[in-house]
């Protein structure tokens, strides 16, 4: 039982990353009917931005810029890192939209897909060129002793990661449901032609959608860095693809689906690895996904031939 619960905790953490990234894929698809294949690399850029912001903040506090108890400082650094990096990475996402996708509006779908892949490669290789091949180790922002609850090992890291992820997802839910921008995003998912007739610029909403998705990807990157403190320029590739698969399984354009499927993928991966050789993890996890898609080709919350953004 304790072993089982331990896996649940691990799966929740892993699922958090997938869910946060998958949301970005799904939102963009819902609003613009295209998959931003650079999104995995936007996650990587977010992790790096988080690395530099947190290192910078820690350096500031080390020279006595802030004289607070260590715990408080670290918490403050984490919060500030999240906020600043999410803002900066949303600018990155908006640039990707503005430079990469806007000129292609109305172009064949394949052009946008190819552009996405190219932007991804540009982000990876420019990282490599600018920062070098050595891996960066993310500062430990959430130290603390492992807590034992009924034989389950829970680290403060895991609690914070899952909590922050859920909080951000709830925030996105409120945004989509309650703000005028969210309302415009939903309207665009159903029929974008009418949206300008309401006096709303499609380009603004497109930028906003990319910005939001990239902000969530930055949060995922930082939380990932906290959990597995090794960053490299290609970290976004496999992770991005997996989150993309989660977005498909959740149903293209469905925000709720992307979140749930992200967690589902986390659970499948962790439980496969718990009971079978870990080298078989991806093989089996994606075989399961394949079976799911055979029976639900549009994913859990997807509709045939149409995009939608639902929460």
């Amino acid at each position: 039982m304790a072993f089982f619960m331990q896996q649940v905790v691990n799966a929740l953490q892993r699922g958090s990353f997938y869910a946060l990234i998958a949301l970005g894929y799904s939102m963009v698809y819902g609003v613009l009917m295209l998959f931003n294949f650079a999104h995995g690399d936007v996650f990587m850029v977010g992790a790096y931005i988080g690395f530099f912001v947190s290192s910078g903040l820690l350096a500031l506090s080390a020279v006595g810029f802030l004289s607070l108890p260590t715990g408080v400082t670290l918490a403050l650094v984490l919060v500030l890192t999240l906020i600043i990096s999410m803002l900066l990475n949303s600018v990155v996402g908006m640039l990707v939209e503005r430079i990469g996708y806007r000129p292609l509006r109305g172009a064949p779908r394949a052009s946008a897909a190819i552009t996405g892949l190219m932007i991804g490669i540009i982000l990876e290789t420019s990282n490599l060129a600018l920062l070098g091949a050595q891996r960066r180790s993310f500062p430990d922002l959430i130290p603390g002793e492992t807590i034992h609850v009924l034989g389950v090992n829970i680290t403060p890291k895991k609690i914070v990661i899952v909590a922050v992820s859920l909080l951000l997802m709830f925030g996105l839910h409120l945004f989509v449901r309650r703000t005028k921008w969210g309302m415009a995003m939903r309207a665009m998912a159903y029929d974008y032609v009418v949206v300008p007739l309401m006096g709303v610029s499609i380009n603004t909403i497109a930028l906003l959608t990319f910005g939001l998705g990239s902000a969530l990807a930055a949060a995922a990157g930082i939380l990932y860095g906290v959990a597995y403190p090794v960053l490299d320029p290609y970290m976004g590739v496999l992770f991005g693809w997996k989150a993309f698969v989660a977005a498909i399984v959740g149903g293209r354009g469905s925000v709720l689906g992307a979140g749930l499927a992200g967690f589902l993928l986390g659970f499948i991966e962790i439980f496969v690895a718990a009971f079978l050789p870990s080298t078989m993890r991806d093989l089996i996890a994606f075989s399961i996904i394949l079976v799911i898609l055979t029976f639900r080709p549009h994913g859990f919350f997807g509709e045939p031939y149409s995009a939608q953004l639902r929460l």
Binding site: K180, L197, M198, G199
Partner: protein, 256 residues
Amino acid sequence: MTLLRVDDMTHWFGGLQAVSGYNVAIEPGQIRGLIGPNGAGKTTVFNLITGRYRPTEGHIFLDGQEITGLPPHKIASMGLGRTFQNLRLWRHMTVLEHVKMARYSKITYGLAGAFFGTARRNREEDDIETRARELLELVGAVDWADHIVTNLPYGMQRRVELARALAIQPKILFLDEPTAGMNPEELVQMMEIVRLVHEQLGLAIFLIEHRMKVVMDLCEVIQTLVFGQVIAEGTPDEIRNDPRVIEAYLGKEVMA
């Protein structure tokens, strides 16, 4: 002063001249009709004026300001509302949300207001909702306000589209075949609603219609468009008896 003026508008789709030398001047409060056989370019004229396409040549003025080539959202917010021939509603959104969406640019509360439900946000939302319900009342769809739009009968969906177009508070409303696909009963109701909207809100209306009865009953001035060119313009009576119009609709042999 003329509310909408189009001077010498021409549009090419590649090698095809879809609209040629089109002119129109619509006065405030006027109802004007645009008729013509299928493929004459009526909807293209609408798409050009509303900014979906940019005209190859010509100038468009709304309320004295040139709007040629402006993006559709700018033109809309300057006071041009529009409905579509085939319904363009947002499946899975409620009727009320449709009308609220049209108030988008008027919403001033931001993130904090939306997330924490501040007093200002609630006041604004209440205000928007009251106005939205008033408009739905006007088109006779208020009973459906909280329903998902796809669950409404067809005629009701068209009314929602009309209410949504009205919610941006247009000075001029473009209706693209508002009675398309309606049964006779729905048609009569829709005509009544258009008349009522016109009386109550005093806006100008530019109407594309296929059914002669509708245009003849509603419009003060009618244009006939054939192959992208206006072949006749006048009062319903003049249009009804114009040999060129009859020819365009019925063919030459009938005339002989």
